[in-house]
Symmetry: C2
Subunit: 277 residues, 2 copies
């Protein structure tokens, strides 16, 4: 018989999502946040930071493929890639298998996220031994400030804009990211739910538009994130994701992303397109 | 101060969604199902049937626009439209404002759904007085059996395939729908979540493929439905939704649907495309 043990995420003040729990694998307070790994019936093992679902075994592929592969396939030669955050390793796993990538630098502030992902989420933390990976445990904001004209693609794989990640949603940070990118560089960031966080999305869009000639929002369906619809914002100095040739999109054994999804993810519902005008 | 009254939907055995409640507006047992209208903080007034969320004021537009406008804009002349189910009136509201529609017939089995939607969800039940509407309270399965070669478009706006709606997911029903459609007719149905109900989706797809030359799945993001991603299946005797000219898509004041969404909704993630092969 299944247990009646449930874990509940307060997605907003007015909305709860509860997952039936097989067992709790790990809990600790790190230097930065509360960390838990819980095994659930619906989504398998789940990483929670400060009681918010970060990633689960069953639906992580959507987030990691869409954050990584849309910008990587927009850039004609994404040799040198940086990930800020993303200590679970899911984005890195996608990036290292892209044939044009020569090196990916992962800068995660909380080593405990890496340690516990390797231990409890090996399917996600699958590329920490990959020779393409350069792993740095440090503050991503500082790393960005110390590097100029270096990266082809920078991904911001952050938690929500509360707690340690607040600085990763600020105009100053985006300015430093711009400087850390090469002259045809691209950045992409997770930018919350269109149904819940339209003000944040609008602000990020406007901030990035003040820096980059090309800023576009794209969407993916992620069941364990609030409302099930998630946004990513791509900002590019030169290359347009919608002008990519379909044949140039790398054929990889993905579970969500493909060449049709690459383009269709940028089609925005009216309620969302209207707030970005 | 906000109440601590919550209503919880058991989305699956292992997954709960809870909404903070302002107040309960109505509850009754009809001849067919348990009906409740609850006012929630997150999504406004919400219609529940047998404890499952049917529609809410804040996100109903996605479902109703996508069920109705994708097939209507695929047919060059959708003069005569039938909706099976859909007693809340949301689909009808979309259909009557399409300029090419001359008549829409709504066949709802449970009059109480209509009565309570008109009373508590007037924004959704907004077109019951429209002269284009022919309202019939009856079993949709019988109505379909009694009509041949009559409709341009038939929409199946059903509850989940349990309880009164089981027959609306059966091959026999689809065969009768085929017969009720004109020679270039189109049917579309809500067909559950790709993340939870892949077997149902696959079965429906296969059943419809045995009848129609063209069967396509399309997707929309609906926050209050389990996993937040919902599928619709369109089956067509002649017209292909992907061959519609962008300029032929009616310009209507929609909140979700637009000409880009019309096409992008058919782009399927790999995990879903693979099960339909």
């Amino acid at each position: 018989m299944k247990s009646e043990l449930w874990i509940t995420e307060k997605q907003t003040e007015d909305l709860l999502m509860s997952f039936r729990v097989k067992n709790t694998l790990h809990e600790e307070i790190t230097d930065f946040q509360q960390l838990a790994v819980v095994d659930t019936y619906a989504y398998g093992r789940m990483l929670m930071l400060d009681n918010i679902v970060m990633t689960t075994i069953k639906d992580e592929f959507v987030y990691h493929e869409m954050l990584s592969l849309v910008p990587l396939n927009t850039h004609p030669n994404p040799e040198n890639v940086l990930v800020i955050g993303g200590g679970d390793g899911g984005a890195v796993r996608e990036i290292v298998r892209h044939p044009k990538v020569k090196q990916v630098t992962l800068v995660e502030i909380d080593e405990k996220v890496i340690v516990n992902s390797k231990k409890y989420l090996p399917e996600i933390a699958a590329a920490f031994d990959n020779p393409k990976l350069r792993l740095i445990v440090a503050d991503g904001i500082k790393h960005i400030q110390e590097n100029h004209n270096k990266y082809d693609v920078i991904l911001v794989d952050s938690t929500d804009p509360i707690g340690p990640a607040v600085g990763l949603f600020a105009l100053d940070f985006y300015r430093d990211v711009y400087a850390a990118l090469k002259e045809d560089g691209i950045m992409a960031a997770q930018t919350e739910s269109p149904y819940l966080h339209d003000k944040i999305i609008k602000q990020i869009h406007s901030d990035l538009k003040s820096l980059y000639p090309l800023v576009k929002l794209y969407l993916a369906s992620i069941p364990t994130y609030p409302t099930g619809l998630w946004s990513f914002t791509l900002a590019s100095k030169k290359h347009d994701p919608l002008l990519v040739k379909q044949d140039d999109i790398q054929d990889m054994p993905t579970r969500y992303y493909n060449s049709k999804i690459h383009f269709s993810a940028f089609a925005l519902p009216n309620f969302l397109a209207n707030i970005l005008e």
